[in-house]
Assembly symmetry: D2
Homo-oligomer: 77 residues x 4
């Protein structure tokens, strides 16, 4: 089954790459952009029946730094 | 409205960071992982009524390299 | 002149991508790897005579999150 | 010994993140920026005496996608 893990900086953490994209969009003339945050995704193809606990453990051990990042697990197929 | 752009390497393009995570998951004892691909997300808060064309133009001009990357636009709120 | 800015997570901040690469190198049989940290570089071609103060301001305003990241500016050409 | 691997997109490959930073620097009023390219670094602490061949193999197998990226290995300590 296909799993998507979305990892993003926690709301309070400054995101310089997001800020750069935000400025750049304004510079290119795009109006009305309020906020931009950059994150990363990890798309995994795992065995059917992989437990939620195993997926969660993968995230905490390897995919995200839970001090500064949030993660969310989505099943996509 | 909140928009999420998912940018990922095209299927044929080698992804060394994904490969590293794949090996690492196996090394940690996680079974049954078939494939891992790393991408990035750009989460945007844009004015309501921003057209699909404007969003698409943002992606092509600034958020993705369409030679090696695919992008997908999702409305999340 | 060419400038290279090296941005890396501060020593105390957990680096899951570095950890993944570390595990993967071990899994591939590379011996003796003690530590792996992932950072990013920003390579800039700026006007000759750009002051150190301007470069430093670029880093603090746009290139690094100084709460969790260190940066170092190198002149490379 | 400490090794730094610099991985960057090959010259011909479009770099949307670099373009975003470039636009953003201009938007913030920084003059004279000609070009911006984003790369990543992998800082490794490896056993003294690790051969150049082993380091090169790490890069080709795990750290860089040599189709679209160049890498350079520097000894930093």
């Amino acid at each position: 089954m296909k799993i998507r893990v979305l990892v993003s900086l926690k709301p309070g953490v400054l995101d310089p790459q997001g800020r750069a994209v935000h400025h750049a969009l304004e510079g290119l003339g795009f109006k009305g952009v309020e906020d931009v945050r950059i994150g990363r995704t990890v798309e995994l193809d795992v065995a059917d029946g992989t437990s939620d606990e195993a997926l969660d453990e993968m995230c905490r051990k390897l995919l995200a730094n839970t001090v500064i990042e949030n993660y969310r697990i989505e099943k996509v197929g």
